[in-house]
Each structure stands twice: as structure tokens, then as C-alpha cells.
């Protein structure tokens, strides 16, 4: 089994510092945040430039080249609703350390992103939803099948579709959590890869609670077979949990210093 893949979520235009840096094309704050995440153990970096309706392609190109040239071709997850921007990002992307990830497709308006990923030999995050939150696992599975079929028809390798079960906020949707976990198990039993915005579960919880809740959720999800997550790698408790889970699942060989690797 491969090690759990950590996608660092902290380069996000919702952060005022990053937004400003993107607007002004100021490398420093972006590199700093990228480096922090890599030092903490991130495998991929999510690069979220928002809807970026105007000039998104230029911004994405600039940011991809910036990150890869400064950080040894770090693999990147291209995160925007602007398809042209994703394509522009891929056009300058260096694959030495891993394929680009398209973030993301769903079974609704964004299903075309599967085509985009297939045409560009990229990995595609595939949300098992259409519009809003799926009502149950039957619905999730129907979307999953639809996305899988589309990708396979276009010649994609099933390993390049990472399905997102949709992590739900616990405050408000507490009764839906076990069902979502069971869906991860279904994906895993089908041999499919999975990922998702895991920190969503602890949204609106006090700051000191979030690492605890996220760690519990990641451990339970990995137990069900989750293969990746989009998280804050600077959350030490979370990263320690992920590393420990990798040992327990025999994805990585134990050594006393395993937390430092």
C-alpha cells in the first residue's frame, strides 16, 4: 500500500495575505506558506486561486512556475472554477515529482473537468455529488459510477480519479458522519482512491478543538481506506496521527524516529 497523500490546503485566496500576494504577484508570502507546509510533511500543495474569472490563466501560470521553480518541482493541485486557468497551469507544469491534480470535477456542472484531466494526463478529484450534499450513499455511489465511467471511457487510469466522499460539518450534520465513513469503505473495497476537504468536519468549532476533531476523523477515515486528504499540514497533531496511521496500516516501516521523517 502507498503512503497517505497529504495535500496542503494553505495557499488559498480566501486568506487575505495570499489574496494580496496573488493580486500583486508578490512571491514571498506564497513561497513562505508553501515551504512551511512542505517542511511539515505535505506531499502536494493545493493552489486555490478562487473563481478567477478574469486573468485566472495568467495567475495560475505565474503561481505554478513560482512554486515549482522555487521548491524543486513540487507537485501541485490546481484549484479553481476557471477551466482555462487549470489548463494554463498544466501547460507550464513540470511532472518530475508527480502529475498535476485537477481540483475538481463533480457529477454536475463541473463534470467537464474529467475531460480536461483525461486530455492532459492529470489526476482528477471527483466529488461524489451533483448539486449540494448527496442525500445518502446510494446517491453518492451513483455519482461515483458516473464519474468513473466517464473517466475510463476517456482512457483514464482509475488510479487517477480520486473520489471525494464529501466530508460534512459535524456541527449540524452529526448524524451523517458514519454514513460518509461507510462510503469511504465502499470506495476502498472497489480499489478506488479517495481524498477530500477533511477539515470541513470541524468547521465552526473552537480553534483548540479543531486539531483534535480533525485527527479523530482522519484516523477513522484512514481505517476505512481513505488514501489522501486536503488538510492543514501545519497541524502537528493531525500529521502525527496520519504518520501513525501509515505505520498501523503497514504503509511505511516503523522506526523510533518515524514522526521525524
Amino acid at each position: 500500500m502507498a503512503k497517505f497523500v497529504v495535500i496542503g490546503e494553505r495557499i488559498h485566496c480566501i486568506s487575505p495575505v495570499i489574496k494580496k500576494a496573488m493580486d500583486e504577484r508578490d512571491p514571498e508570502p506564497i513561497i513562505k506558506r508553501a515551504r512551511e507546509q512542505l517542511d511539515a510533511g505535505a506531499d502536494y500543495l493545493d493552489l486555490n486561486i478562487g473563481p478567477a474569472e478574469r486573468g485566472g490563466d495568467e495567475l495560475m501560470k505565474w503561481a505554478v512556475q513560482l512554486l515549482q521553480s522555487e521548491l524543486d518541482n513540487v507537485p501541485i493541485c490546481l484549484d479553481t472554477a476557471n477551466k482555462a486557468a487549470i489548463e494554463a497551469g498544466i501547460s507550464v507544469y513540470n511532472r518530475a515529482k508527480g502529475k498535476p491534480i485537477v481540483n475538481s470535477a463533480d457529477a454536475g456542472d463541473r463534470i467537464g473537468n474529467i475531460d480536461l484531466a483525461a486530455a492532459n494526463d492529470a489526476i482528477c478529484l471527483a466529488l461524489c455529488s451533483k448539486a449540494g450534499v448527496p442525500s445518502d450513499n446510494d446517491e453518492r455511489m451513483a455519482y461515483c459510477q458516473e464519474l468513473l465511467e466517464r473517466g475510463m471511457t476517456l482512457g483514464m487510469d482509475a488510479d487517477d480519479l480520486w473520489f471525494d466522499p464529501l466530508f460534512l460539518v459535524i456541527k449540524g450534520m452529526q448524524d451523517k458522519q458514519m454514513e460518509m465513513l461507510e462510503f469511504i469503505k465502499m470506495l476502498s473495497d472497489m480499489g478506488l482512491k479517495s481524498t477530500g476537504g477533511l477539515s470541513n468536519v470541524s468547521n465552526m468549532m473552537p480553534k483548540h478543538i479543531r486539531p483534535i476533531m480533525d485527527s479523530a476523523m482522519v484516523a477513522m477515515s484512514i481505517c476505512m481506506g481513505l488514501t489522501s486528504a486536503i488538510v492543514n499540514p501545519c497541524d502537528l497533531r493531525l500529521m502525527e496521527t496520519i504518520r501513525s496511521c501509515d505505520v498501523i496500516r503497514n504503509n511505511t516501516l516503523y522506526a523510533d524516529s518515524y514522526l521525524e521523517l
Partner: protein, 313 residues
């Protein structure tokens, strides 16, 4: 439907570690496939064979060895003979005599002897210590200094003395280090982590995962080597991608089959043949499990294993 072979080559690979200098320089490791799986991808560097000599003289009482080393009175002369053995890629010099219980030969004496050896032969050198923790730390430092520039491999740094050895042998004198553990896969990885945290590059480290003679708990050795190779290649574990060097002679020649005399066990036949058989079968099994180099004592074993390797690579 026709059979279609799918090559099982990995994106990860074993580090290539070079020892020696000039034309005699050799590389251990470098492959991205399982041992001898040359049908999956070319083996970057075929496994290498070392011939072992001892500062207290060769193992007397084995007629073939006696004859091979006849007239070689000094370590340097012995080294010259050994280096000429058919199939030998490197020379391993063991300083058992430096152990406090085996004569406590001084570090200065050992250094003087190894300098003579280094002057006498151009084959790559591997230094084995006395197996005494404190003595070895001192011995290795001085030998690494004396043979500066010869790109030697020092076997071995253990959990108890790796700090000094990494700092002197690895960092101060830029020689290669073998990390030794005793058939303990987690400790093997841990030791590599600790040595790399000292600042020694992984590319300058080999692993001695420990050994046992065939029939003496060898299955633990085989499964350890196997799992290390699998983690290195399939899981891309960079802390296990060091080439594996396995001393075989020291195990094979110290078990009952290789020791008891023909007088006591006439039905077992000559001792020398038994010893060679133990050494050859253990070495072959180590190489099949994943050792990138084996260290042998008998010139006949070296020749036999060398033939095996060249025909399988």
C-alpha cells in the same frame, strides 16, 4: 490469449554506493528491481563479492586456505594474495585482534598494518572492526584518517557507537559507512535515520542487516532483507534504500558443519568442503534475498559465487 509479461520495475531505486578509486572503483546497488529480476529491468550493478582476511592470520587448518596463503607472513602480503583471488571485487580486512579479549592490538599497530595493505593493493577496501564497541570507534576513526582518499567502506557503525563513527569516518574523512543491526528491521531503519540526521548523506551509507549461516535462523535474515528491499522499492522508503552488504564468511565458518573434524565425523567428509558448501549456500541465499554484496573467506567460495552472479546477471 497470449501471455503478456508486465515488467515490475519501480520508480524508486536502491542508492548506488561507490567504494575504491580509479579503475578498481566499484558500485554497490543502484537497481530498481528485485534481486536478479533482470527480466524486469537491467540490474544497474551486479552484486559484488568481497574476500575477507584477518589481522590474526587466515584460518589455519583448512588445507586449501593454507596453500593459498602459504608464505604470506604479513597482513599486506596476505592482502595481495587475497586481492588476486578470482572473482574478488573488494578486500575486507577484519581486525579481530584489536578486541581486548583477542590480544588487544593497539590502534597504532592496526593503522600501520592497514597502511601497508593500502600500499600493496589497489582493490577497494572494506574495514571490519573487532566487534568491540569502544575500540572500534577509535580504530575506525584512525583508519579512516590514514586511508583518506581511498574511499573505503567502514563496517560497521552500530546503535551504540554510530555517533562518533558518523562524525569521524563519514563527515571528517568522507569515507563510506556501513550501518549494522542484528536482523531487526525497525532498528535497521532507525539507525539509517540517526546516521542521516548526523549529516551523513544516505548515498554514503550501506547496511549490514546481520546474517546467519544457512540452517541457523537464516529465514529471519531472508525475510528481513526481503522486507527491506520491498519497502525501499515498493514504498519508496528513502531510509531503506542503502545497498546491503552481508558478511557471510564469519557466520558460515563458525557453525558446527564447518568446524568439526573429519576424525570425529568421518561420514561428513572433509571439513574444507563442508565449509565452502556452507559459505556458498549462505551467500547464494543472501544474494537471492537482496544483498548487494557478500563477504566471503575461502577463495573457492569467491570463485563459485562470482560465477553464479555473472551467469544470473
Amino acid at each position: 490469449m497470449a501471455f503478456k509479461a508486465v515488467p515490475q520495475k519501480f520508480a524508486a531505486k536502491i542508492n548506488a554506493l561507490t567504494i575504491g578509486t580509479g579503475e578498481r572503483e566499484i558500485s554497490l546497488g543502484g537497481e530498481n528491481v528485485f534481486p536478479f529480476y533482470s527480466f524486469d529491468a537491467p540490474i544497474e550493478n551486479r552484486p559484488k563479492i568481497g574476500i575477507e582476511i584477518h589481522d590474526r592470520g587466515h584460518y589455519a587448518g583448512v588445507p586449501g586456505m593454507d596453500a593459498y596463503y602459504a608464505g604470506a607472513d604479513t597482513l599486506a602480503q596476505t592482502a595481495k594474495r587475497a586481492a588476486a583471488a578470482e572473482g574478488a571485487d573488494f578486500l575486507a580486512v577484519s581486525f579481530d585482534g584489536a578486541h581486548p579479549d583477542n590480544g588487544d592490538r593497539s590502534v597504532e599497530d592496526c593503522v600501520a598494518a592497514i597502511k601497508e595493505v593500502a600500499d600493496a593493493v589497489d582493490i577497494p577496501l572494506v574495514i571490519e572492526g573487532s566487534k568491540h564497541i569502544e575500540k572500534d570507534a577509535k580504530l575506525f576513526e584512525k583508519i579512516a584518517e590514514a586511508l583518506s582518499g581511498r574511499n573505503i567502506l567502514v563496517m560497521s557503525a552500530r546503535e551504540e557507537n554510530y555517533k562518533g563513527i558518523a562524525a569521524s569516518v563519514g563527515l571528517a574523512y568522507s569515507q563510506k559507512i556501513g550501518a549494522e543491526s542484528a536482523v531487526d528491521i525497525n532498528l535497521a531503519k532507525q539507525l539509517n535515520v540517526l546516521i542521516s540526521q548526523m549529516g551523513v548523506k544516505s548515498e554514503n551509507t550501506a547496511m549490514n542487516l546481520g546474517s546467519a549461516a544457512a540452517g541457523y535462523g537464516f529465514e529471519y535474515v531472508a525475510s528481513t532483507v526481503d522486507r527491506v528491499k520491498a519497502a525501499a522499492l515498493a514504498q519508496n522508503d528513502t531510509m531503506l534504500q542503502m545497498p546491503i552488504v552481508t558478511p557471510v564468511g564469519s557466520e558460515a565458518w563458525t557453525v558446527k558443519e564447518s568446524i568439526v573434524s573429519q576424525e570425529d565425523f568421518p561420514e561428513w567428509g572433509p571439513r574444507e568442503i563442508r565449509g565452502i558448501n556452507m559459505e556458498v549456500s549462505t551467500a547464494a541465499a543472501c544474494l537471492a534475498a537482496g544483498s548487494n554484496a557478500v563477504i566471503l573467506r575461502h577463495p573457492e567460495s569467491v570463485k563459485t559465487i562470482s560465477k553464479l552472479v555473472s551467469q544470473l546477471s
